[in-house]
Symmetry: C2
Subunit: 363 residues, 2 copies
């Protein structure tokens, strides 16, 4: 494995965290994912190690084709080449799925990850499908993400024989992905709607309109960091363009709702909100022990403060990066050793304190 990918893993920052993108006051990132199967192989669930190896090999050859390699400057790594902690770091960076790490039906040697040099494009090989082509962009850019995934798909299709039926479209391991094989999603930060207790109602409406909603970061606590992911429920029937357009339209409505809620907070309880935001900054800046849930809550409050213009001098991308960096997995990697839960809290706080050290808040 080249050094590039090792560095990618260690570095919590990824281009999808950029804040120099559309609507980053509410939208963290946009993602497109295409599910593709190779016609000549059984689905990964039923692949023999030999066949699985052949799938990886076929992808390895395909990405070395000049059309693909000159466009994406890709690297291929097998999960077996990565330490367990490194695999989870890729999960925290949203470059691979948790299921890809835990799946038992395929050996780690036959689980492949293709990553473009700029980290915008990633391909999981032998996850639920033979290929999961993913494009990840900062801010509200679902169409751009779909375009990039499509571009990779089109180039790969010249070399690889994807299972396709004239009647239903692309054939995938799970029927919920059949058709376009496209899942487009946006990650939204909705702290004001949460604070005003309106998020549930709005997300219920969003679900009724045909999108899937789920919390991000951390199982169990659905809305850790007040982050929510919206994605299309249906892959079969509407065109890619329709899927993207619907997601974008509904997302823009949610963005408007969140912005309205922020204005309401500003007018109706300025002191309470500013107090909450500024205390969050003060605690992050000064704490010596920080829990994993607490840090998500405080980073969310600070991000709201940045969005509302209360906290100047903080870039949203720093906050996204810290959300990833303060996950247990990254703490273990950064500290270079196993950490007990209390040690994690101390290490997490030291990291955050350091990150906020030179930030001057004008208040």
């Amino acid at each position: 494995m080249a050094m590039g990918l090792k560095e990618t893993v260690s570095n919590a920052y990824s281009p999808w965290m950029d804040d120099d993108a559309p609507e980053t006051d509410v939208v963290i990132s946009s993602r497109a994912r295409l599910a593709r199967s190779l016609a000549a192989f059984p689905f990964p669930q039923r692949l023999s190690p030999e066949k699985a190896e052949q799938v990886v090999h076929a992808v390895a050859l395909a990405i070395r084709e000049p059309a693909f390699s000159s466009r994406f400057d890709p690297e291929l790594v097998r999960l077996a080449e990565l330490a367990p902690v490194e695999r989870w770091m890729l999960v925290e960076k949203h470059l691979i799925s948790p299921g890809f790490v835990t799946a038992q039906h395929i050996g780690d040697q036959q689980k492949g990850l293709v990553l473009s040099a700029d980290e915008q494009l990633s391909i999981m090989v032998n996850e639920e499908d033979h290929l999961r082509i993913q494009a990840l962009f900062p801010g509200l850019q679902p169409a751009a993400a779909v375009r990039l995934a499509d571009e990779a798909d089109t180039i790969l299709e010249k070399t690889l024989d994807f299972a396709f039926s004239e009647r239903i479209g692309y054939v995938t391991a799970c029927p919920t992905n059949v058709g376009t094989g496209l899942r487009v999603s946006v990650m939204l930060h909705l702290p004001a709607l949460v604070l005003l207790e309106r998020v549930k109602e709005i997300l219920t409406t969003v679900t009724k309109l045909g999108l899937t909603v789920r919390g991000l970061f951390g199982e169990g606590t659905e809305s850790a960091g007040h982050l929510f992911q919206l994605s299309n429920q249906v892959t079969l029937g509407p065109s890619e363009a329709d899927i993207v357009s619907k997601l974008e339209t509904i997302t823009r409505q949610v963005i408007d709702q969140e912005r309205t809620a922020r204005n309401q907070l500003r007018t109706q309880m300025p002191a309470v909100v500013r107090d909450r935001i500024s205390r969050a900054f003060g605690i992050l800046r000064h704490a010596y022990v920080l829990g994993s849930d607490e840090v998500m809550r405080l980073l969310s409050d600070v991000r709201l403060g940045v969005g509302m213009g209360f906290l100047k001098g903080i870039r949203p991308r720093l906050l996204t990066e810290l959300m990833v960096q303060t996950r247990a997995t990254y703490l273990v990697k950064t500290s270079g050793r196993q950490l007990s839960p209390p040690e994690r809290g101390v290490f997490r706080a030291a990291l955050v304190r350091q990150a906020f050290k030179d930030i001057v808040i004008d208040d």
Copy 2:
């Protein structure tokens, strides 16, 4: 009334808050108070307005005697000359008692306060006794406080005829003050003993040894700010020297216990304690709303941090001053108008934020 005393009232700072004094890591201040009655008058409880006026007049003359005035540069003010808010500010500064403000048996015109230019000596006229001579010093200096009160007492006794019985000593309105009429007290900050839940046991022992213990600042919540006052229970029998020596000996034992507790905190749970202290600083530095109990608790934590060497660049006297300045009474005075409770919280936070603005914490 001269401008001097008006300024004294407005200024939350008083020399007893100095931190350049013995044992200020634990002891905020030391106080001596002598109760004295004028032989020719009934106790204040039974004074007619005319007689009460004569008492004030007699004291006014006595403090103008060169021996007294050249030594103390005193001013006399009548409570009637002070706005209600100003009277309570003097209470918060510990220069007069709350009972002196609320007592109904004497008109405010006949309640006098004598204050030396340096605020170390104060005399309440027509409180429970005709004279309550009080000396207030920073740190552990009970003997110095007694000496100063004695000095004032000796000079005044040349002009005023204090009720004295050869058998029992000075006669006072309440039998608990009879004899020396001396009450010596120290104000202690015992956060580590509170944190380790050992304060109750230690203060029970102190009570058994013959001292009275009470919480300071705020009725009800006995230990707001983790401040406790120790004073002698008995005024009749032991000499002044014995009273002071006993108080000082026991106080030194409590100081040792508190210091031991702080060392235990440092060794046994350094991260937890440092986190608590540093968060307290962060919140005080950044909050936009602060409650009155919360501010006492946070200032106490920060004072502990200063005492333990965790927070450099903060002077203990600033913390004592803020404890006084953030009391509702001072907020009303400083803001120049009545404040609703929510407004108080905002105003209090603004004041504290301002005070901590330029403090740089090296962490």
